[in-house]
């Protein structure tokens, strides 16, 4: 346990120690005029005493200490190597209380929910989806190296990600209860509206076919209009077949979460940074995607005609395009027994314990003492 200063340059504030010293010295040099009739028997001291003397030494000491502590506060004192090696228990959401009760843990174990903020286990189980793997890595990184960690998980886990789950320690991996697979969200197919100008009339037929293919035949046909107005009905996707810059209304709609499909001769907004998402067999780009706000702009880089873009006629075109308009969710569910974390990640060094709150408390108390001393009636009559 080593006390350290995180900002030693703050100690330069110790120069302020001269301030109370000067204050208490200055008063000494002040001379009170005193009427004294027996002046003739007073003899001016030819050699005045040069000894430095301070008024009110106790008050001076308290003030010096106060200034020194303030300088120390600026230097950010901290304690290094304070290891809280108590065992930790992490319980994933989805484990029922009965399983927790069965688990035999020590008395000094620190139990938390594996949820954002890591609430204590006494609190009710937090709901909502949790990025299990990410949270586990976060908790592990904040833990001192020697502290043992037990993780209680259901048999089936949601919230896994593609990364390797390697932690900074050997984790005791307990599996309790069946848990539930996350329900596969049956996302409805996106609805497409088509707005075009005269020059792009040719290509609308292909997009209409795409939209009908998305709706699997039993839905209303897409709303096609040769105009430059946003559709009145709620749709997920919009084919904006106009040349030139996207109107602000369309950009605003995209920022709210819409997906807009634009032709090759449309100009993207300046802020958009397009990334090529689809190339043909020879590597020529077909489609580029740019994020705007919460939505995206998809730009077909070829005219909508089979001559320029033979992929239009391929049977999988509609589903391929849907994959860009409505990307399928990444698989996050995993069996707990298959997701046992490995060890070997470099453990982060323990964060130093900040001593400033305690120092601030001491300074506040000392300031009170200083005020009490400075205003007490034991002080001499005011000059």
């Amino acid at each position: 346990m080593n006390p350290v200063l995180l900002l030693p340059a703050g100690l330069a504030a110790l120069a302020a120690l001269a301030l109370p010293l000067l204050i208490h010295l200055a008063r000494r040099q002040q001379q009170r005029p005193t009427v004294f009739a027996a002046l003739r028997w007073l003899q001016a001291n030819p050699r005045p005493r040069r000894r430095v003397r301070f008024d009110e030494p106790w008050l001076l000491a308290v003030r010096l200490l106060l200034v020194a502590l303030l300088a120390l506060l600026l230097a950010r004192p901290a304690l290094l190597g304070v290891v809280d090696a108590r065992p930790r228990l992490l319980v994933a959401t989805g484990v029922d209380r009965a399983s927790i009760a069965q688990l035999d843990v020590g008395a000094d174990v620190q139990a938390h929910w594996l949820a954002p903020g890591f609430p204590a286990l006494d609190q009710p189980a937090p709901g909502g989806p949790a990025a299990f793997a990410s949270l586990l890595r976060e908790f592990d990184a904040g833990l001192p190296p020697g502290a043992p960690l037990t993780v209680l998980v259901p048999q089936r886990l949601a919230g896994a990600d593609g990364g390797d789950l390697r932690l900074g320690r050997q984790v005791e991996w307990r599996i309790a209860g069946p848990g539930a697979w996350p329900e596969a969200a049956a996302t409805p197919p996106p609805r497409l509206a088509i707005r075009h100008d005269a020059a792009h009339r040719e290509g609308t037929g292909y997009l209409r076919a795409v939209a009908l293919a998305w709706q699997e035949g039993d839905a209303v046909p897409p709303h096609i209009d040769e105009s430059a107005e946003l559709p009145a009905l709620p749709v997920e996707a919009l084919a904006w077949l106009h040349a030139g810059v996207l109107p602000e209304a369309v950009v605003a709609w995209v920022e709210q979460g819409g997906q807009v499909l634009v032709p090759a001769d449309a100009a993207l907004p300046d802020a958009a940074l397009p990334v090529v998402a689809w190339r043909d067999e020879v590597g020529e780009p077909l489609l580029q995607v740019a994020r705007i706000g919460r939505g995206r702009v998809l730009q077909l880089l070829r005219p909508l005609s089979p001559a320029a873009m033979p992929q239009l006629l391929e049977p999988g075109f509609a589903q391929r395009l849907r994959g860009f308009v409505q990307p399928p969710p990444a698989p996050t569910a995993v069996a707990a027994s298959d997701y046992r974390p490995g060890s070997g990640a470099t453990a982060a060094p323990a964060a130093p314990v900040d001593l400033r709150p305690w120092l601030a408390l001491a300074i506040a108390l000392l300031a009170l003492v200083e005020r009490w001393l400075a205003t007490s009636r034991r002080r001499g009559a005011p000059a």
């Binding site: 009739a37 027996a38 002046l39 028997w41 001016a44 001291n45």
Partner: protein, 298 residues
């Protein structure tokens, strides 16, 4: 009466004190004094009815013849001495102590002067007042009676400490008024040698002089412990210094000067006492007048 420093408590403490002149009491033993009592000193004051024990020769027989009653002629006898209260009213008398800023040397002097006047008038002596001020002497001619007490108090109340020590040439009226054998009580700080010189010269000129020196606590103890700028109230001279460093030497020098002053007063035959401002008031009067040498009351 608005201003009266002689409080009932103080008046009670004054009981038993007598202002007695050593000189006149010595004279009073001789026959010369008594004969003067009978002569011109008798001044008619009032009639009062005869009481058993009165001397028959004091009965006014002519009045008895007219009214068929015995009346006694009462006379006011001139006191053989007058008590002169001389108060130094120079600026140094305005000095007070820091522990009691509203009680200056002059305040003490006024209270003591009022006490002396009270004593003198009570025992039938005449009392007068001289205030030594730089610009002019303030006089209350010596007289007796209740009115005189009020006159003295009035003059004392008006007294302010200002200016330097009185000049030698202005003291002429004092010599004219204070007759030989009068009792002169000098109240002052005696820091300036002029006051002591006046007292010794009065004593040398057959006046009975009593000196009462008033000192502040600062002069006795020098209780300062910090940096000071000492200012002489009369000359305006200033002396800055660390009081702690000055203390030892001042106390030695001042003590020496005090001893020299007391020796000088003693040589001149002047009874003297020192009153420091934190002491009880009648203390110096007790020292001076408590054990009166002559006890024969007139």
């Amino acid at each position: 009466m608005a201003w009266d420093p002689v409080t009932p408590g103080l008046r009670a403490q004054l009981r038993g004190l007598r202002i007695a002149s050593r000189r006149s009491s010595a004279l009073r033993g001789g026959g010369q004094h008594r004969s003067r009592d009978k002569g011109v000193g008798l001044e008619f004051s009032q009639y009062r009815s005869y009481e058993p024990g009165d001397e028959p020769r004091r009965i006014d027989w002519k009045l008895y013849a007219r009214s068929d009653r015995f009346f006694v002629r009462e006379a006011e006898r001139d006191s053989p001495i007058a008590v002169w209260i001389v108060v130094d009213a120079s600026a140094s008398m305005g000095q007070a102590d820091e522990s009691r800023p509203d009680w200056s040397r002059l305040d003490a002097a006024r209270a003591l002067a009022a006490c002396v006047a009270e004593l003198a008038l009570r025992q039938g002596d005449r009392a007068g007042l001289v205030a030594l001020r730089e610009d002019a002497l303030a006089f209350v001619p010596a007289a007796g009676g209740r009115r005189q007490r009020e006159r003295l108090l009035f003059e004392l109340e008006r007294l302010r400490a200002q200016g330097g020590v009185v000049d030698e040439t202005r003291l002429r009226p004092l010599w004219e008024r204070i007759a030989p054998d009068d009792l002169v009580i000098v109240l002052g700080d005696f820091l300036d040698p002029a006051t002591a010189t006046l007292a010794t010269r009065l004593a040398a000129a057959r006046r009975e002089v009593v000196a009462l020196q008033l000192l502040t606590v600062a002069e006795r103890d020098f209780p300062f412990g910090d940096g000071r700028r000492f200012i002489d109230p009369e000359t305006g001279e200033a002396l800055p210094g660390d009081a702690r460093a000055l203390r030892g030497q001042f106390l030695a020098r001042f003590g020496q000067a005090q001893r020299a002053l007391h020796a000088r007063l003693g040589e001149a035959g002047i009874r003297h006492a020192v009153h420091v401002l934190d002491e009880p008031l009648p203390q110096p009067l007790r020292v001076l007048f408590g054990a009166a040498p002559g006890s024969d009351a007139a």
